[in-house]
Amino acid sequence: MELLEALRTRRSVRQWTAEPIPDEQLKELVEAAARAPSGSNNQPWTFVIIREQGRLKRLRAAAPGIAGRAAAVVLICLDRRWGDAEPGTSEYDMVHLTLGAAMQNLLLAAHDKGLGACAIGSFHPSSLASIVSLPPHLQLKLLIALGYPVSQPAAPALRPLSEVCYFEEVGSNRDH
């Protein structure tokens, strides 16, 4: 799929079929995520892939943001061994932006492979840490719920470019 086409057609998919995703494909998605740019190339992430049914059920009960029954969930964790920083510092902001870039890579790679995915920020951190036995140096930041989509959701409403983009000075929209 051509990249800009993928950007235009990607949707947040929240309802999936029961078809499992092959492990090789899941690894390819994480490989795409780990190609995201990172400050000082610190690659401050660790990914955990969940595809076992019992664990998925427990995870869905502890992550209220997951609506449907995902075939797999990828946990994106800040790995403090490589990206430890105090809140309020620019480094702290940077590692979180970096994880966001990894998230977007994963979402686009999933879309390219005909999968549907949704980034989830609503979860109970300590319950999820218990479910997947997260060690203390890993801090869960995001979940990506994945599967083969039941249908392609409608495009969400977007603010017009003229409201969110300016040339040279904010408030000057003569070029739009």
């Binding site: 947040s12 309802q15 039941v150």
Partner: protein, 96 residues
């Protein structure tokens, strides 16, 4: 479906409700109604899998599923919830 299956599903639903309650302490205001709609949807999933929904209830479940799985559309959400609640109330009136 066995009683054990149902017990397991209810335990998971209770987990969803408790972790939702914790998250909603500081999540966006609109997430609260959405979590209740999701809980209603999960209960209807359980009923549907056990053949407990008639056509009328299946139709309302379709509306609920659209809210659960469709793109987030906060504009008009309160009005849609208002209509959904009334539709539900009227659809179960004959049973009582």
């Amino acid at each position: 479906m066995t009683t054990e299956d149902l017990t397991g599903e209810l335990l998971l639903l209770i987990g969803f409700m408790l972790t939702s309650a914790h998250g909603l302490v500081d999540e966006p205001k609109s997430y609260g109604p959405a979590r209740l709609v999701e809980a209603a949807g999960r209960l209807l999933d359980m009923m549907e899998e056990r053949g407990m929904l008639d056509d009328s209830l299946k139709e309302i479940k379709g509306i609920i599923d659209h809210e659960r799985f469709g793109p987030m559309d906060e504009e008009g959400f309160p009005a849609r919830l208002d209509q959904l609640a009334l539709t539900w109330t009227e659809s179960i009136a004959d049973r009582f």
